[in-house]
């Protein structure tokens, strides 16, 4: 289908404000009377707080207040209310807030922080789920089981297991009886960081009139609003949250985290806005971290390659609080079947309390952590079956009519994985790979990917739009622009839906819970799908308003009317018409009488048929998936063990491209992040829970020099939910790189890796070990 404004590379509506330095980010906000907070972090990752002495700190210049967690009686959280805004009696991870200083300047607050004396009694530290879940382990939360939690969550009191998730499809483990061949492996996707260039931060202001105002670099203003209202016992309408431009998110600025801490601090100085922005170190240690997922996977197949059964045990190092980790455990567990149909599934996930920073969302949300295992296992299985690994996959893809682990039947509109796969096969594997030479080994590896949606019963997105007196459009939504290009999507989809040129559509900039239409949170690659659907629905309503007014003006019934963006006109005689601009405020007749309605509309959209799963984890997750196929072509430097990705190929079925330049940019950015995770990114945490690399010169993220040549293509099988057939692709690009690179390493040098990152040191040691075996 041809569209007028989709499939074209319009420039971002926010490009000029960003390139001129005028875009306002959290730390750029200045409010009269604003104070600054600095937060003290513990010396131990797990310890009782014996005593805090703040007397010296209170005497320091500029200090307004020194705050601790003493007398903090509330817990917060969306899934588990296990979080506290500041440590009370004990600390559970190395980045936890212990105390804070509020001062007139940040420098004064930081200087006073050093004067706070804290006495601790250290406790045993666990940095890995495997250790923390052993019987007899010291408890990170003695209260485990007592916290309020969603009815679907299952904590095990007296242990560090915050939640056990179990999915059974078909005969479960008994399904392995039907298998001729079985492969097993244990994999690890270690803790990492989103490391957006803008550190996370918030401003909270308890006002004299008992209302609370918040600014945050967050993607979930409405959750912050509701949660703070609950914690501080005020009506939701008395909390106002505003979101300025966000300097990258990639996941960890979701949920409510630092906002509660800053609110606790600010609650001691009512009347004053208090700002806190993470230092880079704090951004690593004291915001949400990523991944921390081990998979123990077993796959059974028949001799001909038909997959039969899968068992997986996901051990999630969830960190000191489970609220933000638990849904990642669940996503990793049920998505560990990957883009394949298994008749029998037995998938178990454990969210485990550990003395590491709480794990939260990271682009991909459990998918890359699980599918690193699935995609490696496909290659291991193919080898055992003596089959081509892509052919094995092709036999088992979740194509139309197949049923995934959750029991959802795949529709044609979920996309055409087979074509994606064939395209990658043709692009990468149709020619011989380079032969080993003096300096390098060469290899190629494949990975197919699937991402499911992330929903909740109330996970809606809304759109408000109005037509102005000149026929131009103002559109507002609650979706957070983190760089992904959501504003461009809003502009182009609104233009298409209203048949009005994008140049005449002005998209909202900041979000304000007082004025913006409701959005659950901007997560899960769902803005294009759900937000786009909300735009289409609002546009339909708006057009209906225009037609209703026009029917009165043109003295006809509504169903005889057509709309083309400029006019509403009689279908059989287009000369009988009224201009859209003249209908914008209702229609004003020559004698000044106004008829009809003001031309505005609001609508929202959820995923269709989303429901909580049954006791076996079977249910409808919202029937919205995106599939793709990827491949890595690599070189391994013999001397250093360095892995160079010569090319990374990605093909996704995105339903309908909205902005070609932007969608390519999204995939390039995702692949780059994931290659970073595969080859060098990892939080280096010592046994005592200290983080040894919480700086960008130690935690290496890809630089220009590590940018990878990419081949990126899209196919378009229209989606049933998204606007004009478009579906989400924001996270999908991060799923393939790690397993594709690992499969390429196996192809190059015959070594199987089960864990990332594969740094030059790791690779070199493996090459040397192989040498010894020979």
């Amino acid at each position: 289908m041809k569209f007028k404004y989709l499939g074209k590379s319009y420039n971002r509506p926010d490009a000029i404000s960003k390139v001129t330095g005028k875009a306002v980010y959290l730390d750029d906000i200045r409010i009269p009377g604003m104070l600054h907070a600095a937060i003290l972090r513990p010396e131990y990752a797990h310890a009782e707080i014996v005593r805090i002495d703040k007397t010296e700190a209170e005497k320091m210049p500029g200090v307004v207040k020194v705050v601790t967690g003493e007398n903090c009686h509330y817990h917060y959280g969306d899934n588990f209310k296990d979080l506290v805004p500041m440590a009370v009696k004990k600390v559970r991870y190395i980045g936890e807030p212990v105390a804070a200083v509020i001062a007139e300047t940040l420098a004064q607050a930081e200087a006073a922080l050093e004067k706070i004396k804290v006495e601790y009694k250290p406790l045993p530290v666990y940095i890995d789920a495997r250790d923390a879940m052993k019987p007899g382990a010291a408890l990170v939360h003695e209260e485990n089981g007592e916290y309020w939690h969603l009815p679907t969550l299952k904590p095990t009191p007296g242990t560090n297991i915050a939640h056990t998730y179990h999915l059974k499809k078909g005969k479960g483990v008994d399904g392995f009886k039907d298998a001729d061949v079985i492969v097993e492996g244990e994999f690890n996707y270690p803790l990492g960081s989103c490391a957006a260039i803008e550190p996370h931060g918030s401003i909270v202001w308890f006002k004299e009139d008992k209302t609370i105002e918040v600014w945050s670099s967050s993607i979930c203003p409405f959750i912050i609003r509701d949660d703070l209202a609950h914690s501080y016992g005020v009506p939701v309408s008395d909390v106002r949250v505003r979101i300025p431009d966000i300097g990258g998110c990639f996941g960890y600025k979701s949920d409510i985290t630092v906002e509660q801490t800053v609110a606790w601090i600010a609650s001691f100085v009512p009347g004053h806005p208090v700002k806190w922005v993470a230092s880079r170190k704090e951004d690593f240690t004291s915001t949400l971290v990523a991944h921390g997922i081990r998979s123990r996977m077993k796959i059974g197949a028949r001799k001909d390659g038909k997959l039969v059964a899968i068992q997986n045990e996901v051990l999630h190092t969830g960190g000191a609080y489970a609220d933000t980790a638990v849904n990642i455990t669940i996503a990793a567990t049920h998505n560990s079947a990957g883009p394949y149909e298994f008749e029998h599934c037995d998938l178990t996930g454990y969210t485990v309390y550990t003395n590491t920073p709480p794990v939260g969302a990271y682009r991909g949300y459990g998918h890359q952590e699980a599918q690193i295992a699935t995609e490696r296992m496909m290659d291991l299985l193919a080898r055992k079956l003596n089959m081509d690994p892509i052919k094995l996959r092709e036999m088992n893809y979740l194509v139309e009519g197949k049923v995934n682990a959750l029991g959802e039947k795949m529709w044609k509109s979920h996309g055409d994985l087979m074509t994606c796969s064939n395209m990658v096969k043709e692009k990468v594997f149709s020619k011989p790979k380079p032969a080993e030479d003096e300096n390098y080994y060469y290899g190629r590896g494949f990975a197919a990917v699937m991402k499911s949606p992330k929903g909740a019963p109330f996970s809606t997105k809304s759109c408000y739009m109005k037509i102005n007196i000149d026929g131009s459009i103002s559109v507002s939504m609650g979706g957070a622009e983190v760089g992904q290009g959501l504003r461009t999507v809003v502009q182009q989809v609104t233009a298409e839906a209203l048949k009005i040129a994008p140049e005449r559509v002005r998209v909202y900039t900041e979000i304000d819970t007082q004025y913006s239409p409701y959005e659950w949170q901007t997560i899960g690659s769902m803005f294009t799908t759900q937000g786009g659907r909300a735009i289409v629905r609002a546009a339909d309503k708006l057009i209906a308003v225009l037609k209703n007014t026009a029917a009165q003006v043109l003295k006809t019934d509504v169903d005889y009317l057509e709309y083309d963006g400029d006019y509403v006109y009689l279908r059989n005689d287009p000369d009988i018409r009224v201009a859209v601009a003249d209908l914008s405020r209702g229609y004003i007749t020559s004698d000044g009488i106004t008829i009809g309605e003001y031309a505005h509309a609001v609508s929202d959209a959820r995923l269709p048929r989303y429901a909580n799963p049954d006791e076996n984890g079977q249910g409808s997750l919202g029937v919205n998936y995106t599939f793709g196929a990827t491949a890595a072509e690599i070189r391994i430097e013999k001397k250093t063990g360095k892995i160079i990705v010569d090319k990374f190929t990605s093909v996704f079925d995105v339903g309908q491209i909205i902005n070609p330049k932007q969608i390519r940019g999204s995939v390039m950015g995702g692949v780059t992040m994931a290659v970073g995770a595969a080859l060098y990114e990892k939080l280096d945490i010592s046994e005592d829970g200290k983080i040894n690399n919480p700086q960008l010169f130690k935690y290496h993220i890809p630089t220009y020099k590590e940018a990878i040549p990419m081949d990126i293509e899209f196919i378009e099988t229209p989606d049933a939910v998204g606007p004009f057939g478009a579906r989400g692709v924001g996270e999908h690009s991060v799923i393939g790189p790690a397993p594709a690179i690992m499969n390429a390493i196996r192809d190059a040098v015959g070594i199987d890796f089960f864990e990332i990152p594969i740094t030059p040191d790791v690779m070199k040691k493996a090459l040397e070990a192989r040498q010894e075996v020979k």
Partner: protein
């Protein structure tokens, strides 16, 4: 111990009265309210605080303000003339180089320091300049494209 320090910033002769050891980024952002210059890290790694001092791209997060005495300073706010963008801004805003935009001001100033001084810079020089900046969004290819487009616009302008 505050001292008066005078320099030209974005074409305007300016005197600040501050601790001479105060970091340039803090003076620019908190005293002069020029918030286009960003802070992204604690140790001069990310490059987003880059400004141009006497024609040279310079990180502002590790330099005391006393070193700016008498200097000619340019921040990202000083590039556009009204609504007319500098060629680097035009190219970077159109090449797909901007996603979240937080690294953008530093990259724009880095390229200004290089290309205004040396419009014929080799591609390797442009790449070395870009290597001083971290971007988590784009994968860098559209930034390189923007830089090359900017170079072309600057050459055509001269």
């Amino acid at each position: 111990m505050a001292e008066k320090i005078t320099f030209t910033i974005n074409g305007k002769l300016t005197t600040v009265e501050v601790d001479p050891e105060m970091l340039v980024i803090d003076v620019i952002r908190d005293v002069l309210n020029l918030t286009g210059t960003k802070r992204g890290c604690d140790n001069s790694v990310c490059g987003t605080c880059t400004i141009v001092v006497n024609g040279k791209a310079t990180k502002s997060c590790n330099m005391p303000i006393k070193k700016l005495a008498g200097a000619e300073v340019l921040t990202v706010e000083g590039l556009a003339k009204g609504t007319e963008l500098h060629p680097i801004q035009k190219a970077i805003s159109e090449s797909g180089a901007i996603q979240c935009g937080f690294c953008t001001p530093g990259i724009v100033m880095e390229l200004y320091g290089l290309l205004e001084e040396k419009p014929d810079a080799a591609q390797s020089e442009i790449e070395n300049a870009l290597s001083k900046h971290l971007c988590r969004c784009t994968g860098y290819e559209p930034i390189r494209d923007g830089a090359l487009m900017a170079q072309k616009l600057i050459k055509e302008r001269k």
